[in-house]
């Protein structure tokens, strides 16, 4: 089909940014425009290629059967019982994130078009390396390979923040790097333990994710006192890595700092893709391989998700820096995703998985736009901005679009994900937990709905202050006190001479529209026809959460047995039946339903 096999196609997609990085390096001597043009060309080629591969996947029989696609495997360290392979492939779980990485990489290149003039070669080379790493993470089918790519996403971003960032860039870069690394080392130890456990039962030291999933299903890690709670320990180790990456409150403090200091292109990749790797890790490893521990931790993580929603929203409400505000809104949105995932309810999990993409699009768009505002007015302080709608109408329209997506306006993508997450969470709270947990679960679900109100509040209030009004004229000639820091990095001398004419207008340039238009298209597309976006991952999601869902139901049953027997509780207390109704399996209830 089409001349070359899907596996080759996939390899090519991942290799293209690497080749592009070399090309950009070689062209380095020819100056800025040559470098950025070659980087953009690379990103476009990768995107077209990746998009084509995604389309091929969607039409393939493997997609229909829920099997991995474009699988290639080369021996790496193979000998005796040892079996490490360079194996790549895509499946329902990774396909959209893979596509999103390619899409946002182009956005990242284009938003840096005018912003990055210092050391452009290094910048674009690192950006392309980051793209390759992001594509690789989602295509890896081997633990070692996954971990290599996972760590490899850190390195380019570390330099991107540390060299091209703002005032506090060094601190931000180091904090980001150390924090994430510390977590991921623990996660790696956890993964190695799974490998060893599997090896001790099968006799083969395989690092293949599919085999490990099957192996842990056949021989689950012990989840009892006798077994040393090994499954829980491993779960916590993985949690350390993924929770920092997501980030789940309270492991989030690196995020606002990293975002505020990162160059726009870095922020786009960070918010759009890198945060998703944490959730992807949960879905790929924790849930299928450690179902019992997941079930035990699920109520706590569900709660942490809700805390994240409210906490992120509240902190966002009082931010004075626009970029920081968006960063905290990310914390809030990732809270929704965590909540949906650990509701362990099919509808909520599907919603959470879609919300990964939705947040990737809207947060990346918002960060990109904040970067564009910064380039024009040299400030991100909400108090110093105002009335942008008159000066840059298209910038305003796009900002509003992504804002509406972020606050879950129907017709745009955010609504679908949010609604499904809430529906599934309520389903879990009403009908899927033990009686003692029902009230806490309901309180948590209701609190999550409060996030809907807060979300509209902080976003629209920010829009009002930044874009509306007419009385404020943001300083446009670099007259603010902040500028000494940027002058050294070339932010200050450019920008407004290319943006804006004599009439005070400073609307989007062609490359900025090109950076954002694809995101806007997908925001609308997913919002209007979510079904084709929800369908491909559905089978994989069901398979990967089945173990945890069953374990959770089992756990709730045990809790129920510990509670007073239903007979004694049956004495009619008519006024408050809700407080003492034990749980039933959701599936039982759905069976009853027409």
């Amino acid at each position: 089909m089409n001349g070359f096999s899907p596996a080759t196609h996939l390899l090519l997609v991942i290799a293209t940014p690497l080749i592009g990085a070399v090309v950009a390096w070689v062209l380095g001597g020819r100056g800025l425009s040559a470098v950025r043009q070659s980087a953009a060309m690379t990103a476009v080629i990768t995107l077209v290629n990746a998009g084509w591969l995604v389309l091929r996947y969607l039409q393939s029989p493997e997609a229909a059967a829920g099997e991995p696609y474009a699988v290639s495997s080369a021996p790496w360290l193979v000998g005796g019982i040892f079996d490490v392979r360079l194996s790549l492939g895509l499946d329902g779980l990774s396909i959209w994130l893979f596509g999103l990485s390619a899409l946002l990489s182009l956005t990242a290149v284009l938003v840096s078009w005018n912003a990055i003039r210092e050391k452009p070669v290094g910048f674009y080379v690192l950006l392309l390396l980051l793209e390759a790493a992001m594509l690789g993470v989602f295509a890896a089918r081997d633990v070692i390979l996954f971990y290599v790519f996972f760590e490899f996403t850190l390195v380019p971003l570390f330099f991107l923040i540390g060299i091209w960032g703002h005032d506090e860039r060094r601190r931000a870069a180091v904090k980001f790097f150390i924090y994430t690394l510390a977590g991921s080392v623990l996660a790696f130890l956890g993964l190695l333990t799974i490998v060893l456990w599997n090896a001790s039962h099968t006799g083969t030291v395989t690092f293949d994710i599919a085999s490990l999933t099957a192996g842990t299903a056949a021989h689950p890690l012990p989840m009892s006192r006798e077994g040393g709670w090994l499954q829980m320990i491993v779960f916590l180790a993985l949690f350390a890595g993924f929770a920092v990456k997501v980030p789940i409150v309270p492991f989030h403090t690196w995020l606002p700092l990293a975002h505020v200091e990162a160059p726009t292109g870095g922020s786009v990749d960070l918010a759009g893709v890198l945060l998703k790797i944490g959730i992807y890790g949960f879905l790929r490893f924790s849930l299928p391989m450690l179902p019992d521990a997941t079930a035990a931790a699920a109520p706590w993580l569900f709660g942490l998700g809700v805390v994240g929603i409210l906490y992120g929203a509240l902190v966002a409400l009082v931010q004075t820096d626009l970029k920081r505000l968006i960063a905290y809104s990310s914390v809030s949105h990732m809270g929704y995703i965590v909540m949906g995932l650990f509701a362990l309810e099919p509808v909520a999990v599907e919603g959470a998985n879609l919300q990964l993409i939705n947040h990737g699009l809207s947060a990346a768009g918002l960060f990109a736009l904040v970067g564009m505002i910064y380039e024009r007015f040299h400030t991100r302080s909400i108090a110093n901005l105002g009335g942008i709608a008159t000066k840059a109408p298209w910038l305003t329209v796009l900002f509003m679009l992504f804002t509406f997506s972020s606050i879950g306006l129907p017709g745009l993508n955010g609504f679908v994900g949010e609604f499904l997450i809430l529906a599934g969470s309520f389903q879990r709270a009403w009908a899927g937990v033990a009686p003692s947990l029902r009230t806490p679960y309901l309180i948590m679900a209701v609190s999550a709905v409060a996030g809907v109100v807060l979300g509209a509040w902080y976003m629209l209030w920010a829009v009002e202050r930044v874009f509306f009004g007419g009385s404020r004229e943001p300083p446009r000639q670099g007259a603010t006190g902040h500028d000494h820091g940027h002058a050294a990095h070339g932010h200050n001398t450019h920008g407004h001479d290319t943006h804006g004419g004599s009439d005070g207008r400073c609307d989007l340039e062609w490359y900025e529209i090109a950076a954002l238009a694809p995101l806007a298209v997908f925001v609308l597309w997913i919002g209007l026809t979510p079904a084709p976006f929800l369908a491909p991952p559905a089978a994989m999601l069901r398979a990967n959460t089945r173990g945890a869902t069953t374990a959770f139901a089992e756990r709730m049953r045990t809790l129920e047995d510990l509670a007073p027997s239903p007979q004694t509780a049956h004495v009619v207390d008519r006024d408050q039946p809700a407080s003492r109704e034990p749980f039933t399996l959701t599936s039982e209830l759905t069976l009853d339903r027409p």
């Binding site: 902190v315 509406f404 609604f419 809907v452 509306f468 239903p566």
Partner: protein
């Protein structure tokens, strides 16, 4: 004639026409003529198309379901057979007169009523999401109410489009906004935004019609939010003004607070019942089967459409019982299911699931509280007058705020007497508070805004006391006269360039058309008429509400306050409306500068006024033969709601009397006379204070100074909410933000710092101890290396062997440790 496929097609197209206009103006607006002048034509053409299609649907409906007088046995005839074959459409057949067992003393009378199933057509166009039992779809539910509301909304929207194309002409060239002060002291100059206005107007009409046609609650919610965002655009149209953008945000966020409750109601319904469709719909996957919708779940045909807690909710609430039986019959699931089914009746009588139904009803009503600006969420509506006046007329009289009342009416069969009482009480509080504030407001648009809030309270109260048709009847008549009043006020503002009534007066001479049509509007809203003979539209609808409230008060004496609220509200309404009219049009001009420059508005603005005032007069009339709004509404009356409903749950014994009882002699006469007397007294008092000047308003204000300032400050609601909601939220948010930097982040930094200290210590050890050791070891190794040199054979095979042995040894070691750990 195939009604089942024609109606959705006609109304569907009527619904989509404004969307087409929105998209067209969005992309080509600025290029539509000079400054986008023709955008008005595009938008108007679209809404006229909608009106035409709605009228066509209305005509088709009338031929199939002729409207006849409501004699109590003609219902069956009104919904005669239309055995249309429907492929994807689903039709509810009338089941004739089924017996209705309960409802004690009125059983003989209400039996025929309760059994009537309204003619309704439903189906789905498009499925947004399908997973498990959750189906989010775009579909339709069309009955007489839908058709009627389509005509009303598109008609009023058409008038407003025409009017706005004149009113908004300032936006056709560069605008200097005198309300915006720039930092350099000047005013803001900006290009006109004529097309943008009509773009938002079109999207708004599309969203509103989407709510009307919606076939399920999820779709209602979708368009509910879209209406919210359109109002955000329209209220914030002059976004350079801080007051406008703040008002827009306030409207949206306050509405979101209502949506908070609505979402919870939605989740309760879906979680327990597995459907959000109003009507029965084809079941997923299975061929030919139908899944019951909300209406038939809550009011099943088998029990004569009497309200009962649906099976799903009973099972849901008694999950322990269900799982116990399931466990007992684990081997024979069929028996278990049978036993559960047989026990449901007992469980229901034990009261399981009633809370759930109550929460669902109140939750959905919360959304309506937001949209229809009821207490305690009404604070957004008066601020929303920051939008251009045509927007106020459309958004805040006839459509957006109507959506809440419409949804209560649509969702009516699911509401229990307790929920209805909540609705009635909220409506009563709203109508009273808003009316008192309107007494002292001096901004002409704000008077109308508070009067809108108050009238919406009337509608809610009417629905709550069992007046389904009274409430919706008033919704329609109010839509006509309130949009008329708003457009009249717009005409006045257009002429005077001020909203302040204290600067007006004597305008009747210069703008006779506006004064005349506004007088019609005022008379209509106070329900003027000759008792028992004829009246303006408001006369009929207000009478119906009073009568039903009286009937309810008699049935539930402890809640007779509701009747007094309605009667008192009628007095206040008459007073503040005529205060407005007298202050604006009567007497001598107070500000000659304004009066001299005032002029009658252009024809494009006057014609809609005349059209609307005609409807404000005749909309309530019933023609000989029975054709009229009230009888048309009866066609859509939800099955089972014509009967008296009694229940005793949260608020004690409640009886919601059947609506037809209020048409009977004593109640009707009392209500009509009360309405007439209170309204007349209100007008008289207004005339004494503002026309004849017998009583000085200033004196009254100074005598009742504390009350006056309390009302003039709008009961301090904004201040109160600021103190109990906004500030605490900000305090908590600042605390969270402080914690974020001061505690969590510092903790992380502290850990990092300790790690560094440890590393420093480690480095010291490294230099002084380890290094020494290593140096010693190195010497030893060197020597050992010399020995091992002998192993260096240079043969690859041997090397590989060493590596393999080494790796295996490591792994054996690791696994042994690992097993030991497990065993330990």
């Amino acid at each position: 004639m195939d009604l089942a496929s024609q109606l959705p097609m006609l109304l569907g197209l009527a619904w989509l026409a404004p969307l087409v206009s929105f998209v067209a103006i969005l992309f080509f607006g600025p290029r539509m003529g000079h400054h986008g002048k023709n955008a008005a034509w595009v938008a108007t053409a679209a809404i006229v198309t909608s009106l035409g299609l709605s009228l066509a649907a209305f005509g088709i409906w009338l031929t199939a379901h002729p409207v006849t007088a409501v004699s109590h046995d003609s219902h069956g005839a009104a919904v005669d057979g239309h055995a249309a074959d429907s492929h994807d459409a689903n039709e509810h057949e009338s089941h004739g007169n089924e017996a209705n067992a309960d409802h004690g003393d009125h059983a003989d009378h209400s039996g025929q009523h309760a059994a009537v199933v309204p003619a309704a057509y439903s189906g789905d166009w498009y499925t947004l999401y399908q997973g498990g039992s959750l189906r989010l779809s775009i579909g339709w539910y069309i009955d007489a109410l839908t058709v009627m509301m389509f005509v009303v909304v598109t008609f009023i929207a058409t008038c407003i489009h025409v009017y706005a194309s004149g009113y908004m002409h300032d936006e056709l060239h560069d605008v200097t906004d005198h309300e915006v002060h720039l930092s350099d002291g000047g005013h803001l100059h900006r290009p006109g935004r004529f097309p943008r206005f009509f773009q938002a107007l079109s999207l708004f009409c599309f969203s509103m019609l989407g709510i009307l046609i919606a076939g399920n609650l999820a779709m209602v919610f979708i368009f509910w939010e879209l209406v919210g965002i359109c109002s955000w655009f329209l209220i914030g149209f002059y976004f350079e003004r801080k007051s406008a953008s703040t008002a827009a945000n306030k409207a949206f966020i306050v509405n979101r607070v209502g949506d908070f409750g609505m979402l919870i109601g939605l989740m309760a319904l879906w979680g327990a019942l597995g459907t959000l469709h109003f009507a029965d719909s084809p079941a997923a996957g299975a061929g030919g089967q139908t899944a019951p919708g909300l209406f038939s779940l809550v009011r099943p045909a088998e029990s004569g459409h009497a309200l009962q807690v649906p099976d799903g909710m009973v099972k849901f609430a008694n999950a322990s019982g269900v799982s116990q039986i399931a466990l007992d019959n684990a081997s024979r699931p069929g028996d278990g299911a049978n036993e559960i089914a047989s026990r449901i009746r007992d469980w229901r009588s034990e009261g399981y699931g009633r809370w759930l139904l109550f929460i669902a009803g109140v939750g959905i009503f919360c959304g309506c509280v937001g949209k229809s600006a009821q207490f305690p969420l009404f604070v957004w509506l008066p601020d929303a007058m920051e939008g251009p006046t045509p927007v106020s007329a459309l958004v805040h009289s006839a459509t957006m705020v109507a959506a809440g009342v419409y949804l209560v009416g649509r969702f009516y069969p699911v509401l229990t007497p307790d929920v209805l009482l909540v609705i009635a009480v909220i409506g009563g509080i709203t109508l009273f508070i808003a009316a008192t504030i309107a007494l002292v407001a001096n901004d002409i648009k704000r008077v109308l805004a508070y009067s809108t809030v108050s009238q919406l309270g009337y509608m809610m109260l009417a629905l709550g006391v069992g007046g389904w048709s009274a409430g919706l009847f008033h919704l329609v008549t109010h839509a006509f006269f309130k949009s008329l009043l708003f457009l009249c006020s717009g005409s006045v503002i257009h002429a005077c360039h001020t909203n302040d009534m204290r600067k007006m007066g004597g305008l009747a001479r210069v703008m006779p058309w506006t004064a005349g049509t506004m007088l019609v509007g005022c008379l209509a809203i106070i329900g003027a008429g000759i008792p028992f003979v004829i009246g303006l539209s408001g006369y009929y609808s207000k009478d119906a509400i009073l009568a039903q409230a009286l009937s309810y008060s008699q049935a539930n004496p402890s809640w007779s306050i509701l009747f007094y609220a309605v009667a008192g509200g009628a007095f206040l309404t008459a007073f503040y409306m005529f205060r407005l009219w007298f202050m604006t049009f009567a007497g001598a001009p107070r500000d000659h500068h304004i009066a001299d420059h005032a002029h009658e508005s252009p024809n494009v603005m006057v014609v809609p006024l005349v059209a609307l005032s005609v409807l404000a007069i005749v909309a309530g009339w019933t023609l000989p033969g029975g054709f009229g709004l009230a009888n048309l509404l009866e066609q859509a009356r939800p099955a089972g709601t014509a009967a008296t409903m009694s229940d005793s749950f949260l608020f004690g014994n409640l009886t919601v009397p059947a609506e037809h009882l209020s048409h009977e002699g004593a109640i009707h006469v009392t209500a009509t006379l009360t309405a007439f007397t209170t309204a007349a007294a209100g007008v008289l008092l207004a005339a004494m204070m503002y026309l004849w000047r017998i009583i000085s308003p200033e004196m009254v204000a100074s005598v009742f100074r504390p009350i006056y300032s309390f009302l003039a400050n709008r009961w301090y609601f904004d201040e109160l909410y600021n103190a109990i909601f906004v500030r605490p939220v900000f305090a908590v948010a600042s605390l969270a933000s402080g914690t974020d930097r001061g505690v969590i982040d510092r903790l992380i930094d502290g850990i990092a710092w300790s790690a560094r200290q440890l590393a420093g210590f480690d480095a010291w050890i490294d230099r002084n101890l380890v290094d020494g050791l290593v140096n010693a070891t190195a010497t030893a190794t060197w020597n050992a290396g010399l020995e091992l040199k002998k192993l260096q054979t240079g043969r690859l095979r041997q090397y590989v062997m060493f590596i393999v042995i080494g790796t295996v040894a490591l792994f054996v070691l690791a696994s042994m440790l690992f097993r030991a750990a497990l065993a330990g």
